[in-house]
Symmetry: C2
Subunit: 552 residues, 2 copies
């Protein structure tokens, strides 16, 4: 039995006993409404699911609509296990998704367990109902492009060409982020329908019919001095080498195909989408081998672009790891985006903070935008981003915004918005959450924590502490996720959501959750030896225990 329509709920009618439960229920509806394949509960990244299966989904909905304020729903890999009596300051929902014991945490074991219906992958924000559509990563991608602009192009990407691939749930943010950053961006995508979808949603402008056509569109934009986004249907493992062969050297090259998953994600060259689908069932191992071979070509082209002068970076899809397996020795010469561009932000606790207007009323989002523009008037990066976002980012699902805010600022926004809910300035409650790719929230040695100063890349204590601390800080939903599919064994992260329902209890929930979340993130980077974090600790008096002086 499969649900057929995926809408979100508006207004102030409660189906649950309170807004904490109702808010989480609306978020669950929301991730499906903006998801890539909601009929199969898939939200993004090929396999990232909102619930294990439909009976689990329905039982989760039932639990949320019936449980009391002093109860906690336990979810194990997308399946609800029980609703137990806790207390009013305990989370409404705790979840652990896709965690496997280390020596077993491999793609094959994941697929085996998944096939048996014993596990499901929650992606980062799918399984814990925090996904807000392509907007979720757009500011991250935008910040990377801006930072590259500053470092390599005198702060100006006008006339500069970005080459990338993948226009899926996350990758679909790239054309808009590139255009907002002022560049011309060419996106190679193997699935025609994904290109159409991004054009429909306003994230992508042009659909090129061939590489020649694409390059004409690039040249036209360049001549006019315009930013532009162009989609081209094709396989990156073919098109990247072809561009190279023509002697074209883009200014920036990256990729966001689902390279992390050799079976359900990456599409190898030479096969139609239908053939890939069939092979997934009939011979997944052969499909893996073909994907690996294509990724080798794909990454070799990226390395060649790098040698030719392009700024090339890995945007967090494990493509280097796969390429290395496929024999591309130097794959890791390509730097990871976190280390290259975002680490100084994370060290200060600045990361992808987000909120969702649970009323489903766009005006609530606008009012919070205005509040931000006023309150952060002296913070150009916030002003710049909110201004762009208001103008250019289409609403998907419930009105939501992402903004890279740090320690202290997040708490301030949470409390101010809660007051706005209380005072009726907003028409309904607001949910606060963040990406898992946040300072204290993720251990991911090939992406988030690659090459940390102290070498603590692989230590996963931090996300676990992050989740335990959130449970101890009155968050409404807390999740621990590990990688599934090709990410199996590669990462562990924590997710947290807190509902601003205008109550004074919500003040306390938000104050503790948001403050402790960023505090731990900054402490994690201070512990790893980052000066920015040590500064932030002093500036904000974060209660870090500094043992450095004692040889600790």
């Amino acid at each position: 039995m499969t649900k057929q329509r995926f809408g979100v709920t508006s207004g102030s009618n409660l189906r649950c006993r309170g807004w904490r439960q109702e808010g989480l229920l609306r978020l669950l509806e929301n991730v499906l409404s903006v998801g890539e394949d909601p009929a199969n509960l898939v939200v993004y990244a090929a396999l990232g699911k909102a619930a294990r299966d439909w009976p689990s989904h329905d039982a989760i909905v039932h639990a949320l609509t019936t449980m009391g304020d002093d109860e906690t729903l336990i979810v194990q890999s997308g399946k609800p296990i029980g609703v137990v009596k806790t207390h009013e300051r305990a989370p409404v929902v705790i979840m652990a998704n896709c965690n496997m014991v280390g020596q077993w945490a491999k793609a094959e074991e994941f697929y085996r367990l998944e096939k048996k219906g014993l596990i499901c992958w929650g992606g980062l924000t799918a399984g814990d109902w925090q996904y807000i559509g392509s907007q979720g990563v757009i500011q991250g991608t935008y910040e990377i492009f801006r930072r590259i602009a500053e470092r390599h192009f005198d702060g100006d990407l006008t006339g500069r060409l970005i080459l990338t691939s993948g226009l899926g749930g996350m990758g679909g943010a790239q054309p808009l982020a590139g255009r907002l950053a002022g560049a011309i961006i060419l996106c190679v995508e193997v699935d025609e329908a994904r290109i159409a979808r991004r054009i429909d949603s306003g994230y992508l402008q042009h659909h090129a019919t061939s590489l020649d056509d694409a390059m004409r569109l690039v040249e036209a934009a360049r001549a006019a001095g315009n930013a532009s986004s162009i989609g081209l249907c094709g396989n990156a493992a073919d098109i990247f080498p072809e561009i190279l062969a023509r002697g074209i050297v883009p200014d920036i090259v990256t990729d966001q195909t689902s390279a992390h998953d050799l079976i359900y994600g990456y599409v190898p060259t030479g096969l139609s989408l239908g053939e890939v689908k069939a092979l997934r069932q009939s011979d997944p191992e052969a499909l893996s081998r073909l994907s690996l071979a294509s990724i080798a070509r794909h990454v070799q082209a990226m390395l060649d672009f790098r040698a030719a002068g392009s700024v090339v970076f890995d945007n967090g899809n494990l493509i280097r790891t796969q390429a290395k397996t496929a024999g591309i020795e130097h794959a890791f010469d390509i730097p990871i985006f976190t280390e290259a561009y975002l680490r100084p932000l994370f060290a200060r606790g600045i990361g992808p903070f987000r909120w969702i207007a649970l009323s489903n009323d766009e005006r609530d989002l606008r009012r919070i935008d205005e509040y931000l523009l006023k309150t952060f008037a002296d913070n150009p990066s916030v002003v710049n981003w909110i201004t762009l976002a208001r103008q250019h980012i289409p609403i998907e699902g419930m009105p939501a915004r992402i903004a890279w805010l740090g320690h202290g600022d997040r708490t301030k926004v949470g409390l101010d918005v809660n007051r706005m809910v209380r005072e009726g300035i907003l028409s309904g409650p607001v949910a606060f959450t963040r990406d898992h790719l946040d300072a204290g929230a993720m251990a991911h040695p090939n992406i988030m924590t690659e090459n940390l100063k102290d070498g603590s890349d692989a230590i996963a204590d931090w996300p676990l502490l992050n989740a335990m601390l959130a449970c101890s800080s009155q968050a409404d939903l807390v999740a621990i996720h590990s990688g599934g599919g090709g990410y199996a064994g590669y990462m562990t992260s924590a997710g947290v959501t807190t509902i601003a329902d205008g109550s004074s209890e919500a003040d306390e929930r938000l104050r503790l959750t948001l403050t402790n979340d960023t505090s731990l993130g900054v402490m994690r980077y201070a512990d790893a030896g980052y000066g920015e974090a040590v500064e932030e600790i002093e500036r904000s008096r974060i209660p870090y225990i500094n043992l450095a002086g004692h040889g600790g």
Copy 2:
């Protein structure tokens, strides 16, 4: 700077702001006072430590003695990171010890990180200050022997010979457990000093000078119809084959050397302890190879005993896994103790529950013993165990008791004891905790969760949920541990401690913590398809969401 004396604190003087903090501080002192090598912070199992290093230890003590009741101390692999404001129903301490991202969770990476001072292994109960000396495992070992007696020897082990090895922190419980179970037990231990130590503590009776002497002692006990425990200095990899060669077939054979760790644990044959110590530094890889080769001989002898008719089982030290690596194809023919003997108990939430009298007053322990004998008068296994324990188990460190109790019973004991504290029947507060080897608390596919009915052996969501739930249920200390050393990548578990200080708040803390802890354990087994668990859910109305009927 190393501490030199390791005592415990008595009486009702508080060094902290309340008993929750004071109790945890006393437990920290206690694990060192009963630990194997406290000067190096090692509590048991070769590397299981109470804190990362001495500066960390001192900073933990400082934090516990100064923090308020609405604050939480964060500990990452034995190092205190910060004390943050939470609230009065949040844990005093949260910790994550030795967790590594799956693909990196290997012994070599652990040693690399350990050497850099970035991580430390907490064992199960060392890092979270729950260890209570050899007594901790004694009932577990006793229960296994009793179960073997019932299944294979008409319930009577009189005159039966148990052969085992390893008299370390945990293994040292074997001679006493074997004797309490009525058997003659021969323990092979390579380190003379360990034998002496177990004799001093009253856990072991005889020190044989040779195998001939040992066998004479066995025969004498058999002739007299006595239970008996005999220690023999030697290497199991030599002595086991020698016993076999003499045509002696023990009734029961097991092992509790630190086989999980090829460098710091197992001692290979042919080397003196001094030579092993030197090799750890000079050539750890050579040492690993030698250990593996010895383990192969050791396990081959165990398999040969099995073929000759002995009841042989693995007692949870990964010796089969190592032997398999060393080429012993059939190592896993030896069953693991959990599956063979304890699973029906775990499925009902029955497991190694324990309490510690924080007053350090033995009379408190006696009073709780008496309460148990009265309250559980109709439960022969409790009565039998408490009676034996009172008579035979020497007190190590603070007075503590272990008893295998299940869902409901644990909550009852917790609440009754808290009342006894409140009414002054006991002279001070009592800490409640349990081993990590408990129903919902551990994923350990080669030990705890081997061969589960549904195949969910490697899923680690459960211990993570267990920890999150404990944080949400007002536990005082919550820990997530993963394996270090040779256990790296093999397990994840959760620890929880709650202090009964006689207050009504403690009533709530104990009710929620103890009830939810066993509830989750039973749900885990119900989810895996165990009938005992489904029965317990019905009997105790555990709020499990049963999707079985819906194909979930």
